[in-house]
């Protein structure tokens, strides 16, 4: 699936940038993320994702690698993991672009991912819809967190 959104955030790029690296607050913002831990600052993290697709619940440990970093301008990360119960391989690539606009910021979100295995095939249509809802929710929570 592939989702792109733009979110206006009433916080200057430096504040937004700092929020993005605040692991506990980011766990709150990312829907379905139940825990996350820093392994190597600004480079490697581990997280656990849980999502319910109807009666099916997906729960997978993710390894997160930061692949691009331009302070206060751009952040891109890749995450990979596997849910052995459902037999689903999950890959995510999220790119966040920040553009300062007179004191506030415009955040561009570009999220691309795949759920491989039976769930990915059978749930193809549903997963795209869920991903769109998740990115919208992420944008909303991030804006609230940044403006709080």
């Amino acid at each position: 699936m592939h989702v792109t959104r733009e979110v206006a955030v009433a916080a200057a790029p430096p504040a937004l940038w700092a929020l993005l690296w605040d692991v506990p607050r980011m766990v709150e913002c990312v829907p379905g993320c139940v825990e996350a831990r820093e392994i190597e600052a600004h480079r490697r993290y581990v997280a656990r994702m849980q999502q319910k697709v109807g009666p099916i619940s997906l729960s997978a440990p993710l390894e997160v690698h930061v692949v691009e970093m331009e302070p206060e301008r751009r952040l891109a990360l890749e995450a990979r993991g596997r849910d052995p119960v459902v037999g689903a391989e999950i890959t995510l690539r999220v790119a966040l672009g920040i553009e300062g606009r007179d004191g506030a910021s415009l955040l561009r979100i570009d999220a691309e991912g795949r759920v491989l295995g039976k769930l990915g095939a059978l749930g193809h249509g549903v997963i795209q819809k869920k991903a769109e809802e998740a990115v919208d929710e992420f944008g909303a929570r991030l804006r609230r967190a940044a403006e709080a």
Partner: protein, 766 residues
């Protein structure tokens, strides 16, 4: 047998000799077979389209009670783990790299299927994703990632010895053929037109998914009960892989639950052979339907065609360029691109021709043979563009076809068999039956299309016929019964030649230890080639009977003939048992007849002349719902030039099945991939034709001029009727609604988009 004699059994719709077993549920397929001590195998498959295997941890799986072995590519060093008829490029289990989603990575063998399935979930595999190419466009792009980095060794087929891969690309073979002045001829054409078409990835969906059961005996011999269409090709592969002489590799083939080409060449036999050797116990592997979607499919293709015609409608020049997507492993793909492109110009005379095709690897389910063998992909393009040419010339598409048909006896290509059918008869009958010249009802459109296909050459079929002491007969022939009715046809041929009732003829189960060599059950060749071998073997026995009777009756053999299980002269009748008693001086003994048919190599471009040309015409009348784009076929006529129907009811069954299978890729079927992942490998989301898709009127008719090289003038008829369905429906749609679709299947949404584009075009006065 003089052709003039009235035929007793051939030409009759005798009931199938395997019908009773099948309607009572007693027929046995590989998935029904069990051996004492048999273990059950299950395969772990890659979720990635292209990845390097970093690490496989099978410890937990091996520890599960009831698991006898967990095998990965690394455990196969004791044999040659690669197989494939063209290139030996396919590993039994992935070695270091997986090349398509669904490729087997590990195999578990356990006491029962449940333990095997549970153990699968405990095998941990770490992959490192690699860039994948999953479409022809991606695979042929300059600098595209390579599916195979090194060139695998050639396979074992003579006609494929000249494989021509293009180093540094995903092209593993090319076929090129020219006749006449090629490109130059287009300069003289009054009308030149060109277009590009695409044919989708479709799956055979035989009701029986692939299955195989292997067991090694104490003398180091391997027996495999397999759902295969060519036991003798599988025997060659296993002999090479396990380094055993051919005489010690035995392939037994019970009934197949459908094949359609999907069960040609080795599929599961290598893995079960290896697992049985490792566990030293019989091992059975029966795939699920979903796994069949990750084992074989038809090679999808994109085809560019260019036609040059004279103003009077005569075809002058044709150029076809076809790229076939072979998926991750070549299988028989290299021969498909040759066979499909060789008759790209169909049953028409085209003096100047340039044909080129590429076999291209991609990271998807490997392609293989599928009914039509490349011809449906080319005919879809050629027959569609031919209709466009007729329209541009303001000519009736039937007339333009009739005007360009090859004539009976005409040379198709120097060195190949002359045309052996009167194709105009089929065209006229199909056009008349669909009511071509009368206007169709409102909202209905008609279209027509033809096809021509070469069968395999060089080719070999051998048969043995045994006449027993009581006058009953056994036929030993390796032709596989996969529903087409081959056993009944062989029984009819033997019964006709030896003048015994069909009920007293049995046809043995193909078993390479017992039934003699046959190249393959495919390419519509069995009735013709194996039928001739059975005919000659039965003739051999008939000759022996006449000689014994001639000595007994002191009359020249040519004054005698066989009739109702006896040799009959002017004044004498000696039943077969008496003749055998005479011959052997005791109650036992049997006469053995042998038939070998092997036309061998020739100067024909594909290495051997086609024994016969398969030709069929399809005429369709469709209804279109212009608002939804949904099409239904209301009337369909198929006419096939078959030389002679040995069993008319079975021939009808073949053609009705072929038409409905053709309707599948015409209106419904397509394997959907998204970035390397197969989305619809199940019958809920992959739409196979149902009873309700049956046209209101479906007629399958035959032209029988007795002009085939097969027994009693028969020719092959197993594939022809499938091919014209998509171009006939596509042409009907174009003539009814003025939209030319180039990509199959013609789903409602695709037709809807074309109709909207047409409407938009009209509104801008285009």
């Amino acid at each position: 047998m003089s052709a003039g004699e009235r035929l007793r059994v051939v030409g009759q719709s005798v009931p199938r000799i395997d019908a009773l077993e099948k309607v009572t549920g007693r027929a046995r397929y590989v998935t029904d077979l069990e051996l004492p001590g048999m273990l059950y195998a299950a395969l772990l498959r890659s979720p990635w389209a292209h990845a390097r295997i970093v690490r496989i941890d099978a410890a937990a799986a091996r520890a599960l009670p009831g698991v006898r072995a967990v095998v990965t590519g690394a455990d196969l060093t004791w044999c040659d783990p690669y197989f494939g008829p063209a290139f030996r490029d396919r590993p039994i289990l992935a070695i270091d790299v997986v090349r398509y989603e669904g490729e087997p990575v590990a195999a578990v063998v356990a006491e029962d299927a449940e333990v095997a399935a549970r153990a699968l979930a405990l095998v941990e595999v770490e992959y490192e994703e690699q860039p994948a190419v999953t479409t022809l466009e991606e695979a042929l792009a300059p600098g595209a990632p390579l599916v195979h980095t090194s060139e695998p060794p050639a396979g074992h087929f003579a006609d494929l010895s000249s494989l021509r891969p293009v180093p540094g690309t995903n092209i593993c073979h090319q076929f090129h053929f020219e006749r006449g002045r090629g490109h130059a001829a287009f300069a003289e054409a009054d009308l030149t037109l060109e277009d590009a078409y695409s044919f989708p990835r479709v799956q055979h969906y035989s009701l029986e998914p692939h299955a195989a059961l292997a067991a090694w005996d104490d003398q180091g011999g391997l027996t495999v009960w397999a759902s295969t269409q060519n036991p003798y090709s599988v025997r060659v592969e296993l002999s090479k892989m396990f380094r055993e002489p051919l005489s010690r590799v035995r392939i037994v083939v019970p009934f197949l639950g459908g094949g359609f080409g999907g069960k040609t060449y080795a599929k599961l036999e290598p893995i079960v052979g290896a697992l049985a050797r490792i566990t030293d116990r019989p091992v059975r592997l029966a795939l699920s339907a979903e796994e069949a979607f990750r084992t074989v499919r038809r090679c999808d293709a994109r085809v560019r065609v260019r036609l040059g015609l004279r103003a009077d409608g005569l075809l002058l020049a044709a150029e076809c360029h076809a790229d076939f997507d072979l998926g991750a492993y070549a299988d028989i793909g290299p021969r498909i691109i040759q066979k499909g492109t060789y008759t790209a110009t169909g049953p028409y005379r085209v003096p100047h021709v340039v044909l080129h095709s590429n076999a291209v690897y991609t990271n998807t389910t490997p392609g293989g043979a599928f009914r039509g063998f490349g011809v449906p992909q080319l005919a879809w393009a050629f027959e569609s563009l031919l209709d466009e040419a007729a329209a541009r010339l303001g000519r009736d598409p039937v007339d333009v076809r009739r005007q360009n048909l090859l004539a009976h006896g005409e040379e198709y290509v120097p060195g190949d068999t002359p045309i052996d059918g009167k194709f105009e008869e089929s065209l006229n009958r199909a056009a008349a039956a669909i009511g071509w010249t009368q206007a169709a009802r409102p909202g209905r459109g008609r279209g027509i299309a033809m096809m021509m296909k070469a069968s395999i050459g060089p080719t070999v079929s051998e048969a043995i016929v045994r006449l027993h002491a009581d006058g009953s007969v056994t036929v030993l022939a390796s032709t596989v019964e996969m529903g087409q009715g081959a056993r009944t046809v062989m029984a009819q041929i033997a019964a006709e030649v030896l003048a015994v009732p069909v009920a007293r003829v049995t046809v043995a189960t193909p078993d390479t230890a017992i039934t003699p060599y046959d190249q393959t059950t495919s390419s519509s060749r069995s009735t013709t080639m194996m039928g001739r071998a059975v005919y000659e073997a039965a003739e051999d026995v008939r000759g022996q009977l006449l000689r014994v009777a001639a000595a007994l009756l002191k009359t020249p053999a040519h004054h005698l003939r066989v009739e109702d299980g006896a040799v009959v002269g002017r004044r004498a009748r000696v039943p077969y048992p008496a003749l055998l008693q005479e011959r052997f001086g005791m109650g036992g003994g049997e006469l053995i007849g042998r038939g070998i048919v092997a036309p061998g190599r020739s100067a024909a471009p594909l290495g051997g002349s086609t024994p016969f040309w398969e030709m069929a015409v399809g005429a369709a009348e469709i209804q279109l719902d212009e608002e939804t784009g949904a099409i239904t076929v209301e009337d369909y006529v198929s006419v096939a030039d078959v030389g002679r129907c040995i069993n008319p009811l079975q021939c009808e069954g073949q053609d009705e099945g072929a038409v409905m299978q053709g309707l599948g890729h015409t209106l419904f079927e397509e394997m959907l991939y998204e970035r390397g992942q197969l989305l619809n490998a199940n019958l809920v989301d992959y739409r196979v034709p149902r009873a309700e898709d049956l046209p209101a009127r479906l007629r399958c008719e035959f032209v029988e001029n007795g002009d085939g090289c097969g027994p009693f003038g028969a020719k092959g008829a197993g594939e022809g009727s499938l091919v014209p369905v998509s171009p006939a429906v596509g042409n009907a749609l174009a003539r009814l609604a003025g939209v030319r679709l180039r990509d199959l299947p013609l789903t409602p949404e695709r037709v809807w988009r074309a109709l909207r584009a047409r409407a938009a075009g009209q509104s801008q006065g285009a």
